[in-house]
Every structure is written in C-alpha cells, then in structure tokens.
Symmetry: C2
Subunit: 240 residues, 2 copies
Amino acid sequence: MPVKSRNSIPAYQRIQGKIRKIIEAGGLRPGDAVPSERELARVHNVSLMTARHALASLEKQGAVERRRGVGTFVAAPKIHFNKLMSYTEQMGSRSLIPGSKVLLVKIIDDEHEVNARLALSPNSRVVKLERLRHVSGEPFALETCYLSAAQFSGLLTAPLHRESLFATLERDYNVELGYADEEVDATPADPRTAELLGVPKREPLLRIRQVIYSTKGVVILYVLGLYRSDRHNLVIRRFR
Amino acid sequence: MPVKSRNSIPAYQRIQGKIRKIIEAGGLRPGDAVPSERELARVHNVSLMTARHALASLEKQGAVERRRGVGTFVAAPKIHFNKLMSYTEQMGSRSLIPGSKVLLVKIIDDEHEVNARLALSPNSRVVKLERLRHVSGEPFALETCYLSAAQFSGLLTAPLHRESLFATLERDYNVELGYADEEVDATPADPRTAELLGVPKREPLLRIRQVIYSTKGVVILYVLGLYRSDRHNLVIRRFR
DNA sequence: AAGTGGTCTAGACCACGGC
DNA sequence: CCGTGGTCTAGACCACTTC
C-alpha cells in the first residue's frame, strides 16, 4: 500500500492528534481505554509499527499510559509543578484578579552585581523596573526586574501597568522564555519595603532571585522579588 | 535472520547499554558523534528499526541528542536540579561533612495537623523525630520529621544519630522514595528555635514543609524544616 | 552526491494479563 | 484462550545537512 500523501504531516502524528483532540474534548476521560495498536492500524489503514509509534509518542508526552497485556489508557491530567509563570499567569490560574503598580522604570548603570547576574560587562546600561504587586487591593510583593538596555530599552515606554512583562517580551521582542534558576531565602523587610508592603519593619519576607533564560540558554532578565510571607507561598515538587 | 536468543534482554537494550557504558567510561565525550543507525545495525547485526530504537530510547533518556541529516551526539551531562535529596546526600554532594543531633524521638498523637498532612486519621499515633543539623560545628537547621507509628515505630531505636533517615527507610523499610511536594515561606524564629540555631529571636528563617511520597504515590513522611537564612539557600530551576 | 535521521510497510513471534 | 503491548525483520522512500 502506497504512502497516502507526500509533503503532509506524518501518519503517526495525525493519529496522535485525533486521539489528543478526543481526550481534550472530554470524549475520553482519564482511565478510559484508548483504541489498541491493532485497532488503530486497521481504522487508519497504517501498519502496526506506525500505530504503535503514535501511542508510544503519546505516552512519552504523558497523555496516555500503556500497560502490557492490558491496553492503553488516558493518563490522569498532569498538574504542572515548578512552572515558570509570570505573576499575571499565576494569578489567572488561581482566578484572582492581579494588580500591579509601576514604581520605577529607568536606565541605570551603577548596580554592578546586577550586571554580573545578567552576564553583562560591569558598566553596561540596564533597564530597571520596579513594581508593587497586589491582589484584591492588598500589596503582597515587590518585584524588581533588570534587563539589558541595549536590547530592551523600548520597555521604558511599554504599557507595563496593564500588560504582563512576559507577554511583552515574547511578543514585541520575540524572545522565547525557557527556564529560570532561582535562589530562595528569607530576609527581614527594610523600612521602605515594609512601608510599601504594609508590614512591620524587619518582618520576615520570602526573597526569590531569578535569573531567567531564553529557550536558547541566553540570560534575558534578572528578577529580585520580595514576598509577604503571610500572603505568598512558594510551592515546588521535586523528584528523587 | 533468526532471533539470537530467547528469554534474554532485548537487542535494542543491549546496544543502548554498550553505548551508555562507553559514554560513562569517557570513551565518548559530550558532543562526540555516536555511531549512526546504519552503522549500529551492521555492527550488531540487527535491522535498522532496532538500531533506531536503541538511539531513540537513549535520546528519550537524555543521554544523546539527535540531529536530522547530521547524526547522533553525546549530550552534555545533565545537572540535576530540584532533586529530592536527604541532608546527608546534599552535603555529601558539596563535599561538606554533615553533623546531626537527635533532640527528640517519640511517639505522639496530639498534633492533628500533622496527621492530616500524613493522610492519617486524626488520632493516629505518629513518630516524631526532631534533629538539629550542623556543618563545621555550626547549627543551621532544625528539622522535624513525622511518620506513621504503625509503620515506622522501629525508628525509635534506629541509629539515626549516625545514619541518614532516607537510607534507613529505603533499606530497612523497603520504601522507595519518589517525590516531594514542598511549601516554602519565611517565618520569624521562635525563642527555642533561635536558641538552638544560635540566632537572634525573630530572625527570619526559611521554612520548608515537605510531604514526601513513595514512588507509588503513598505519603511516607512529613518534614518541617527551619533554616538559617544566612547559611542556607534553596536553589531551584523551573521551566516554562 | 553521500550520509544522516524520520517515516513506513506487512508481516512475525514473544510476554503478559484477564477470563 | 484471546487480546494486549513489546520486540524485531528486511527492506523502502523521504527530508535534511554537509561537502
């Protein structure tokens, strides 16, 4: 039997896509059996190896679970742990309405530690963006972002009071954010931060320092976040 | 050509194993080319699909990287982020000599919040283990572990002052630790903790609450850790 | 053009699980 | 026993990269 069509998407991907769509539409619920390799091969008129490839690939993606001698079943929906999300995305996923006040946007060249974190030479110019974040009118975090001014000076005039920094970067600057290395510790609130967050001086805050990389491994930004510990909880999952 | 031997390990796994060993022995360094599918098929006297399976599987495991039209190459060694490690393992991997002092081991039945974390009924009996951890003679963490007394009462007499709790669990109780969900925040040191850790009262501490599961998804233990923020830094990597 | 990985066939037998 | 996934063959053509 000849190949159905040249220059089109591979058969195993078509089959995969159909199954995914059925799952996403709720036609197959977690635990339900997915058609067997032989069934798929017959229905889609492909060889066993091809049907198998479709299912194996779905398994690799975590969409299904295969049990020898038994069958292939829809996997429990994955909870995404440790995902790199913007503040806006995090709040959205908890259906809270986020707010954010830009305290400062300017170009600086005198915070040398920041330049090191961004892998820039010590006197490079850097965009500094300071924002107070709140939910339901209550401030809970002070976030300071640093980016190379050479690349991102346009941010000085971007509408950051109403749009996510992540979204702006990904759309206007065509950078694909990939991953972040974070350092987490606890630190007492300095007077200004305490005032801004509405907590007593020296109140313990969660401090998170992120270096965020593009998918290609290039440093894009450095973020220093101070979080009210009574309002913010970092949740992570780690594996052995 | 017939199958070489029944009841033995699959050909693709044998081929995989050989390649892995060469890599681990340093015979192939990161970036080096691995033999092509056709090469492997010829040398090991298997079909192309089988040789292919070996390489595809190695790629899934992250050991190699495949580039269409170019070849298969040894991947850069993975740095393990966010790994669930015992204190002993963490210190060992930084070549520091860990110390640990058992402050308390007893069975309790009155901390109801703990029972909830362990998914036990509210009045179940629970082993409570409190340890002060230090490096180079300096205390830096207070860790309290809780485990079901029904399963782990033998820990009351285990030599925990000199052996890792993880190791004991995995060897003596045959539990395979799998993953942990953690909540991280900042909290002021209470008087007793401050005293034990040698810091001022109300000093900000990093608080990590872990629920640790077996590979089968069963809750094994709950750990409450308080870390001196000046000596301990949680490092995580998250992906988008 | 030569070599690589990617897709695919039309079968085969094996190992496992449930009935 | 039957159906499932797991391994495997001996080829084929395609798409891509490098020279």
